[in-house]
Subunit: 112 residues, 2 copies
């Protein structure tokens, strides 16, 4: 038997979901591409889905995450707030540490 240990880590505020791994990937893409549209495409989501995800994210987090603009030739765009960037950094660090813990320890356990 080859057992694998898997895990998910996500953020909540007041018991309400803010974001998980997918949200992180989405925000990363937004940060790089400056657009929800393009970011959604990059991570394989529909614009509708990404938009809904971000909407509830901003509602539940008490912090401004996105700065959006309408119109213009480019149609508008979306950038991240400094707080959002810090959130990304922190989440990734924690994620990395959790993964390391699991990998290091699960090697010892679960041998059959």
């Amino acid at each position: 038997m080859q057992l694998e240990v898997r895990s998910k880590t996500w953020l909540e505020a007041d018991g309400k979901f803010i974001m998980g791994e997918h949200g992180i990937a989405l925000l990363d893409a937004i940060d790089e591409l400056g657009s929800i549209q393009h970011a959604a495409r990059r991570v394989g989501w529909s614009y509708r889905r990404a938009w809904g995800y971000l909407k509830t994210m901003e509602q539940h987090a008490g912090v401004p995450i996105l700065v959006t603009s309408h119109g213009g030739t480019a149609g508008g765009g979306t950038r991240l707030t400094p707080q959002a960037r810090k959130l990304l950094r922190d989440y990734k660090r924690l994620q990395k540490m959790v993964r390391a813990t699991i990998q290091r320890k699960s090697r010892l356990l679960f041998s059959y």
Copy 2:
């Protein structure tokens, strides 16, 4: 903003779900009570749900988890195999370490 970090840990084999926290609680209860019926009640599940959960668990894990008996005045019962007990122990240890990691680190991160 009061952010909380949450996480789930579960076991897979071959990419297929074996069990998570709820399954652990269920197996614990079975170990103590000697019956799926009673264990399910204890953890607030219907017998049907517990049975289905255990079924796929045993299908996906390559290891015998349960020893069941039919009939008799007691109607039968279910006990855990030694492997199942080890699995429980290992999972709980890992879980504890993951939680500790998250708690210790998330204190430092996510301050706004």
